[in-house]
């Protein structure tokens, strides 16, 4: 039970909030360390990401040699885009999963999480941010270094581009979390989230720009793809890196989707809490 030790409400509230931030920072740090227990898996992932980066780069080189200036990218931009998207696979968890939540809903272990005096969603978010940070170090940097060594990648044009790229990367992780959280929570209604996971995989790979840059798609398909949340995970941060998009517009787009998905996630959490059978007796 909380004791306020008689200070006034304001300072108590400040301390309380400070405590909450410390709590979620600690959870993020634990998420980081939790993933470091699987270092060899991360190395294997980094190796795969690098190899596929090289293969995809040659495909894009062929394409851009045939159609120079496609999608507003020159050849160097296109190869850079390719290695950036490879680097995003880990932190943005583009192949799905990354959250323990779906397994915990399926097994019923989520009951334990729901007893805690903390928000399930913020708890998961903090843990996921830790995961993303760890995978950024182990699965993003090495393949990018390989790409730079083999093909020579474009660098952001200056501090503004670097800063906006960093912000875009962070917002992309939040959008990715917001989406994956909803997918994981869907297990509460469908008893299992595997169907949703595979649907999510296809949507994410295609509409994020992972398969091909979204700027390539013409007409309404392109407009649609660029307006959907998945583009915040690859296309938008890559464009911020390459300086191809207005910074405020891009970050605003990502922030709007982050807020929307987190709000949906909060609604889904309370709906799940109200109606759902927690599995496993």
């Amino acid at each position: 039970m909380i004791t306020t030790r008689g200070d006034d409400r304001g300072s108590f509230r400040r301390r309380f909030r400070g405590g909450l931030i410390l709590l979620y920072l600690r959870i993020a740090w634990y998420g980081f360390r939790r993933h470091s227990a699987y270092r060899s898996a991360a190395f294997a992932g980094a190796f795969t990401n690098a190899v596929f980066g090289i293969l995809r780069a040659y495909v894009l080189i062929a394409l851009w040699n045939a159609r120079p200036g496609l999608a507003g990218y020159d050849l160097a931009d296109a190869v850079t885009f390719c290695f950036l998207s490879q680097a995003f696979i880990g932190p943005m968890q583009l192949f799905g999963g990354g959250l323990e939540l779906s397994g915990r809903v399926r097994s019923g272990d989520v009951a334990v999480d729901l007893v805690r005096p903390a928000s399930l969603q913020l708890w998961s978010l903090a843990d996921d941010v830790g995961r993303a940070a760890y995978l950024f170090l182990l699965r993003s940097l090495p393949p990018t270094a390989v790409g730079a060594a083999l093909f020579g990648l474009v660098l952001p044009s200056g501090p503004a581009a670097w800063l906006s790229f960093t912000a875009g990367l962070a917002l992309g992780v939040v959008v990715s979390f917001g989406w994956r959280y909803l997918v994981a929570l869907s297990a509460c209604w469908f008893m299992d989230d595997r169907g949703m996971q595979s649907l999510s995989l296809i949507l994410t790979l295609f509409f994020s720009g992972m398969v091909l840059p979204l700027n390539l798609f013409p007409g309404w398909l392109g407009d649609l793809a660029r307006a959907l949340p998945w583009s915040a995970m690859v296309q938008v941060p890559a464009d911020l890196y390459l300086g191809k998009r207005d910074i405020l517009d891009a970050l605003g787009f990502q922030a709007a989707w982050a807020v929307a998905l987190l709000a949906l996630g909060a609604l889904a959490t309370s709906a799940a809490r109200r109606k759902v059978v927690i599995q496993g007796g």
Partner: protein, 255 residues
Amino acid sequence: MIEVQEVGRSFTVGRRRDRRTVHAVRDLSFTVGAGEFVGYLGPNGAGKSTTIKMLTGILAPTTGRIEVAGLDPSRRRTALARRIGVVFGQRTTLWWDLPLRDSFELIRHLYKVDRVVFRERLEELSSLLGLGDFMATPVRQLSLGQRMRGDVTAALLHDPAVLVLDEPTIGLDVVSKAAMREFLSRRNAEHGTTVLLTTHDLGDIERLCRRVMLIDHGHLAFDGTLDDLRATVPEEKSIEDVVARLYTGQATTGA
């Protein structure tokens, strides 16, 4: 400390045409006073876990009223969490990949326990439950008995007034089981912690519980002392046989 009044909880299962309503708990009423140690028995599927989930605020009751430690669990779940400790024997609240100590440190932040108070409590629990040897071991490497001791510690670090235990001795060997029972009994006696215990191990009930409640088909089939329970089937000698009779509906008295 725990008040349950005419509580019911139903679930809708199945899809479309074969949709039906299952009453996991119906018209359940009981009261548990401060400092009591109550055993909560029932066959599989009788509604024990549903009751526990409602008491801890994970599930809201469909009908009726619940109050635990002065709070309505489903409405004040977060506030309630600071006043109760919960152990699900088959699940863990500990961080799988991290040393045991880290889970406790997180719980200190989660429940906002003062650092000095926390250290004292952890030392006490650690010496009583013998956690010293594996405090730095990742949870996934702990034996079941060690993990369970860790989980019980985690549930008590914020010094809750009510402790809800869902099969805390499941899978433990005789020595670990005895140690766990000894610990729980002392906790109840020395701290006055109210304990509600569900278990399929009647040894737990015999050694720990002054009062036994038995739930069957979602409602209370028995509430009384252990001796009263034995008296319901006087011709049976062992408590196992008595309870088996009650579970299969061959007892002479109900309620």
